[in-house]
């Protein structure tokens, strides 16, 4: 035991007290936030330019109903198209001329935009939309329906489907969009962690083997202690990173979001958490119901902490399972290039799990998703992605038990391969060789 703890200590210090660990631990969340905010930021910078468009309307119907907004200003011009075009080309500030034909209501193709520089899809779409609406109203008017304006206003509706889980005791409002998004995100994180930290273990075994320190080590330490110490040491490093991030997320949801959220949403959220009805609260506070559910689940610190706890258990189990397999491969080869072929059977389930979590969006309880969240090799990734959708506790427990049982078996096998493999130098082993080591080890 003393030896294992010495080895764990070395593996842990070796990695955690390195600059790169500090940097990735701090930079990753920042990068995530930046990536999340990127589309909004980009939209902010694009299309902020104001465009002046002169309108020559021969029908006399469209021009009065065109709305100027923060991007386009319409100015109605009298006179024929040719003279307006000439005038427009002399005015540098002018973006172009919109010509509406006389029979625009019956002939929707009679609209034409002349521009002095390249126009954009967004701009054209917005103009076309406005014209379409005008034509629609004009055509409706042609049917001579009484009180048309009121009727039109009256039939407009916007539906928000509020969903409530009734199988979990405290009928909590849930947002399927938010939970499946969180699930996907967690699944991705687990996927990257298993792949990255798993191959970190493999690389470190290969390094020890090629630097020949292993023979010095195994003359005092049993190979099993070496293997166990390494796997647990790296697991501890990964757990440290996850714990730091977990703490950041909890901090974020408990302190930072409430601080920056507008007052009305915050009040709404508090009332939702106190058991209020989302639909009515959204009306009262004048915010969108989607926003309210999303925020209330993000701000439920207790729920998040519980979820992270389950994630950590799956993460550690999955890591131990994959790390033992990666270590066995590392012990079998002399250099990283030789490992590629041998890692294929390990990477296949990881990638399969990655594909399956895409299906969770569609249905978190479909048979393939369910079974993949039970089978130990895919369960760490798939189950973690399912958890935010709210699934029965027994499923989580069964899956965890199977995962840890498989880890014990794989560790036992890996130790046998490791014991033989670390003294094998020279030619690249085949699966047949490894199978023989496993039987004889």
């Amino acid at each position: 035991m003393k030896n294992i703890s010495l080895i764990i200590g070395r593996e842990y210090r070796e990695r955690v007290f390195k600059k790169s660990f500090l940097i990735t631990t701090i930079m990753m969340p920042l990068l995530m936030i930046l990536l999340g905010a990127a589309p909004t930021l980009i939209m902010e910078f694009v299309d902020s330019e104001m465009r002046n468009i002169w309108v020559v309307d021969e029908s006399g119907v469209v021009a009065p109903q065109l709305h100027s907004d923060e991007e386009i200003t319409f100015t109605v011009k009298e006179g024929d198209l040719a003279s307006v075009l000439v005038a427009s080309s002399q005015d540098e500030d002018n973006f172009g001329v919109l010509h509406i034909g006389k029979n625009i209501v019956t002939d929707p193709n009679a609209a034409h935009l002349y521009t002095t520089s390249s126009s954009s899809l967004v701009l054209e779409e917005s103009i076309a939309n406005q014209i379409e609406k005008v034509i629609e109203t004009e055509r409706l008017k042609a049917y001579n329906i009484e009180n048309l304006d009121e009727i039109l206003k009256d039939v407009k509706a916007e539906v928000h489907l509020a969903t409530t889980r009734t199988d979990q005791g405290d009928d909590k409002a849930s947002s399927t969009a938010v939970s499946s998004l969180i699930g996907m995100l967690l699944g991705f994180i687990l996927y990257f962690f298993l792949a990255i930290y798993g191959s970190m273990v493999m690389q470190s075994v290969i390094d020890e083997k090629s630097s020949r320190i292993l023979e010095v080590m195994v003359s005092t330490v049993k190979p099993f202690e070496m293997l166990m110490g390494k796997v647990l040491g790296v697991a501890l490093v990964a757990a440290t990173q996850v714990a730091v991030w977990g703490a950041l997320i909890v901090l974020f949801s408990a302190v930072i979001i409430p601080a920056i959220l507008p007052e009305n949403i915050l009040q709404g959220v508090q009332q939702v958490q106190a058991g209020g009805d989302i639909g009515t609260l959204a009306m009262q506070q004048d915010v969108s119901p989607e926003m309210l559910t999303a925020m209330s689940s993000l701000l439920d610190t207790g729920h998040i902490a519980l979820m992270l706890g389950a994630v950590l258990l799956f993460f550690v189990g999955g890591f131990l399972l994959y790390a033992s397999l990666y270590a066995a491969v590392g012990a079998s080869v002399d250099q990283a290039q030789d490992a590629q072929q041998l890692t294929i059977p390990i990477t296949i389930p990881i990638i399969a799990a990655f594909v399956v979590i895409m299906l969770i969006m569609k249905d978190p309880n479909s048979p393939i998703v369910f079974w993949c969240s039970m089978i130990p090799f895919t369960s760490p990734i798939v189950m973690v992605a399912r958890i935010p959708s709210g699934i029965p506790v027994w499923e989580i427990i069964v899956s965890l038990v199977m995962l840890y049982a498989t880890f014990v078996i794989s560790m036992w096998g890996a130790a046998k391969i490791y014991k033989v493999g670390i003294f094998m130098h020279g030619s690249k082993p085949t699966f047949k060789d490894i199978w023989r080591w496993l039987r004889n080890g």
Partner: protein
């Protein structure tokens, strides 16, 4: 008293037998050489003694009783392929390895400081191993091998990779440790070092122990009564007279300096009468028995 008694050790791998019924007895306080061509099984024998490998058959006794896991703390082992963690600092690494050998942090620090000063490498303490040259790393490796004052030291090819100056330092250190009471086993191809520092040897070839014993006894036993003579005088007359009583192996007459003659004296012939014959015929300058070098014995034993 033997510190290690290995009896009838057999170790098989899937395709070949690395050790076939090998027995060795290593006396306490000796410097014991394991000789043999590449692939003969020396490293496998060492690995069974250090319990890295368990033999398929046979038994290893340490201090007269079967070896057990805790005995490895009394052994210091430096493998042929030297290895250190490349990215660790020298001092941290030495401390880590010393603690794995059961030393306390404090004892290890004190002992390390002493050794680093002895080798004049104290300023390397905070260097990373991959900044050291190969020879420097070997010194560090040597220190961590002997640091915990093991009773039994095992070096696999200790002189490979050392320049002559450092090889000499190493040789002196090995003898010094022997004088302090340690038993030293080392495997080597370097036959001159065997003659210089080994008391006992075992020659392993093709997985078998083909020759064991004290170095002096072995050389004498392989001597075969060959003598070399240096003289001044009539060489044809001498070869004629001496040739009558023993076998002439080599004759190099010289007019300017001493002539030499190499003879094999049969067991039944009295050496004194041969000397008398030579003395009567020519002016005798030297008469000496030729003891074969370990190199000759090695080659002869492996070939036969």
């Amino acid at each position: 008293m033997n510190i290690i008694t290995a009896s009838h050790i057999t170790k098989r791998y899937s395709v070949h037998t690395a050790l076939d019924d090998v027995s060795v007895e290593i006396p306490r306080g000796s410097v014991y050489g394991l000789l043999g061509p590449n692939g003969a099984g020396k490293t496998t024998l060492i690995r069974t003694i250090t319990r890295i490998l368990l033999p398929d058959e046979g038994e290893i006794c340490f201090d007269g009783r079967p070896i057990k896991q805790s005995d490895i703390y009394r052994i210091g082992y430096m493998p042929e392929e030297r290895g250190l963690y490349r990215k660790m600092k020298v001092g941290d690494q030495a401390l880590f390895l010393a603690r794995l050998k059961g030393m306390s942090r404090h004892d290890a620090l004190v002992a390390l400081k002493e050794w680093f000063e002895r080798f004049g490498i104290s300023e390397w303490w905070n260097k990373r191993v991959d900044d050291l040259s190969k020879g420097m790393a070997q010194k560090v490796q040597f220190i961590v091998t002997v640091l915990h004052k093991p009773e039994l030291l095992i070096f696999d090819e200790p002189f490979s990779g050392f320049d002559p100056i450092n090889a000499n330092i190493l040789k002196e250190e090995i003898l010094r440790l022997r004088n302090e009471g340690a038993t030293v086993i080392f495997s080597t191809h370097n036959m001159s070092s065997v003659e210089e520092i080994c008391d006992h040897i075992t020659l392993i070839n093709k997985s078998k122990n083909i020759l064991s014993g004290k170095v002096d006894d072995i050389r004498r036993a392989h001597g075969g009564n060959i003598f070399s003579v240096q003289y001044k005088g009539e060489s044809s007359l001498l070869t004629e007279r001496v040739g009558a009583i023993c076998e002439i192996l080599e004759s190099e007459p010289s007019n300017t300096s001493l002539s030499t003659l190499k003879v094999h004296i049969p067991r039944n012939e009295d050496i004194r009468s041969v000397v008398a014959t030579i003395n009567d015929t020519v002016e005798l300058h030297q008469f000496a028995e030729t003891i074969p070098s370990m190199n000759d014995i090695f080659i002869q034993a492996v070939r036969s």
